[in-house]
Symmetry: C2
Subunit: 364 residues, 2 copies
Amino acid sequence: MKSYMEVLRATKHKVRGHRLAPMKEQMKVFETLDENLMPDMYGTGSVIESFQNQMAEVLGKEASVFFPSGTMAQQIALRIWCDREKNKKVAYHPLCHLEIHEQDGLKELHGIKTVLLGDKERLFTLEDLVHLGQVAVVLFELPQREIGGQLPSWTDLVEMVMYLKSRGIHTHLDGARLFECLPYYEKSAQEVCELFDSVYISFYKGLAGVTGAILAGEKAFTEKSKVWKRRHGGDLYHLYPYVVTASHAYELRKDRMQGYYEQAVEYASKLSQVEGIKILPEVPVCNMFHVHFNERADDVTGQLIKVMESSDVALFGGLQNRANGLAKAEIYIGDEYGLIGDEKIDRAIAELKQIGISANQKRG
Amino acid sequence: MKSYMEVLRATKHKVRGHRLAPMKEQMKVFETLDENLMPDMYGTGSVIESFQNQMAEVLGKEASVFFPSGTMAQQIALRIWCDREKNKKVAYHPLCHLEIHEQDGLKELHGIKTVLLGDKERLFTLEDLVHLGQVAVVLFELPQREIGGQLPSWTDLVEMVMYLKSRGIHTHLDGARLFECLPYYEKSAQEVCELFDSVYISFYKGLAGVTGAILAGEKAFTEKSKVWKRRHGGDLYHLYPYVVTASHAYELRKDRMQGYYEQAVEYASKLSQVEGIKILPEVPVCNMFHVHFNERADDVTGQLIKVMESSDVALFGGLQNRANGLAKAEIYIGDEYGLIGDEKIDRAIAELKQIGISANQKRG
C-alpha cells in the first residue's frame, strides 16, 4: 500500500499555499528584464538599493537591508539590540523560529540567552511580560505560526508594546508573514511596523518569492546590520537573483492577502463541519490555521488517502503529531486554493464526511 | 578634469579578468534548462546534491556542501577544527581574507583567536610554522592573493603540510582560486586538495559564476558544516540560482586556466619593460600578479589617463597605495585579455612607455 506522503505527492490538486514552480519558471522574470541592467555588488548598486528604499517606505522605516535569509536577519537584529543595551538576554514565544528551527544559532554564534514567554500552546500576554525580568528586546511573531497563525487583538498588541517601551525594552517584529495579517488588523504595514524598533519580512512565504528577507529600522540600526551581515557571510557578491524575484513576487501578490484570508476563513468553516476535526484558531485571523484531528496520525491516514485517491484533491499537506499524540495539519492559503475551485474542494470534503475521520467510524 | 576611475569606467577595453555581465545575460542559462527541473529546498534536492557530489569528486573529498559564500564556509571550517581540537586558535597569513575582509566574523561570531604567520609582504614558510604554538588549524591560501598571487613551491607546500600533520595540526585550503594555480603546480585539483583536511573553492573569481562556494572534506566534517550553515543563516530555501550558474561557469571555464596563466606571464613580461614598473611576483605563477609603481597613485594617474584616452585600453584597474605610499594595481587575467587582443594591448603599452610612468619624466 502507498504511504500518505506518496499519495499526497501524486494528488493533482493540493491545498498548500502556492505551487512550487520549477526553476526555469521561477527565473522567467529575468527574460523580460532590461538587458542593460547591472548586478548589485556586495550590497551596493541600484537593483538592491532601490528595492531596499521601496521596502523601507512600505514598512515605514528609515532604511532597510536585503538579507539572504530571515535566520540571518533576525539573529543580527537581536544582537544589535543586545549590544545597545549591554544585556545579552532576549525574550520570545517558546515556539519562536529562532528557538526551534535555527540549530540555536542565536545562542551558539551570539552567546545570547533566551527567555521563553508564557506557554507553547497559546500567545504570550501582557501578564507574561509583567513577570519578565529585564531583557534587551522582545520578539513578536505576527502571526504566531506554530499555533495556527494566531494573532493578539490590536488593542492587546499595542498595550504589550507600550508596556515594554515604558520599561526601556526594545521590540522586534518577526514579520515573515506580516502582509498576511494586515487584513485582520485592517492596518497598513506601516501602521503595524510603527510599533516596533525593527522589523523583518520574508519574500518566500505568502509572497512566494524565491528566497530572501528584508530587515528594516532606523539607519543607525540598519548600518550596523550590514557589518553583521558581512560577518555572517551574507554580504554576497550578487544578491540580485533573490532581489529581482522578491520584487516581482511582492508586486504580484501584495494585494491578494485579503483574498487568501477570506478563503482561509471559508475553508476553515467548511472543514469544521467534519466530525473529529477542530480548527485552531476557531476562526482564522490570517491565511493560515491548524487542523487538529481527534485521532493519531496513523489512524487517519487511511481515510485521507481514500479521499485523495477518489477526489484527486489533497485537503491537507503533511501530518504532524501534537504533544498529546493526536495529529495536526497546517493549512496555508495561497494561489492554489482559488485555482482548485469550490466544486472540487466541496466534493472532497463531502467524501471525507461520508468516510468519517475517526478511527471508530473506520472500524465501525 | 575627469578622475582616473571615471576614465577607467568609460574605457572600452579593460584588462580585468572577466567582464561583469548584466543580470539578464547572467541568468540566460535558465532559459535552456529542462522545464521540469525542480528547485533545491533547504540544501536537499537533486540540483544541489548532484553538484555537491560532482565537486566532492573533483576535489577528491568524501563530500561537499554548497554555501552562499566563502566567508561563511571558511569561518565554519575553522570552527569545526577548533571544536574538534578543543583549541580556539587558528593560524594564517597576515593578509588572509578572514583577517582583512570579513569584519572579524571569525572572532566576533566564533570567539576564535588568530595567529598571524610570518610577514605581510611574503608567503609564510616552514620556519614560521616551527615557531608557531599549538593551534587547531592552519589556513593556506593558494595563491596568496594580496601579495600578487604568490605560491610556495610544491616541495615547500608539501613539507609545510607534512610538518603540521606531524604536530597534529589540521590544514584548511582557501582555494578561492584553486583552479587558477593548477597549471603552475602541474597537478590536478585532487592532488592539491589531498594535502588538506578541508577545502573551500569559489565560483565567482576565475570561474566567473554568479555567487557561491563549495566546502569539502570528510563526511563527518561536511555534516557538521551543514548545522553551522543553518546557524549562520546560509541554509537558504533555494540556492539553485547560484548552484546552476556555478555549475555552468565551472564547465565553461575549468579548462581555460592554462590559457589565463600563460597570458598572465606574457602580460607581466610586456609590462615589466615599462620603466618605473615592477612585477610581483617577477614571473607570475597563476593568472594574477601585482604591478608596483615607483610613484604615488596621484603621480601616475595623469599618465595612465592619457593612455586610456588615446588607446581605449585600460592596462590596469583601480590603484591602491602600498605601505610605502607608492601605488600598486592588481592584474587578474580572465576572458577579457584574449578578447582585447595583442595588437591593442601592445599599442597601449607602447604609448605608456613613450609617455613614461615616472613623475620626473612627466615633469621633465
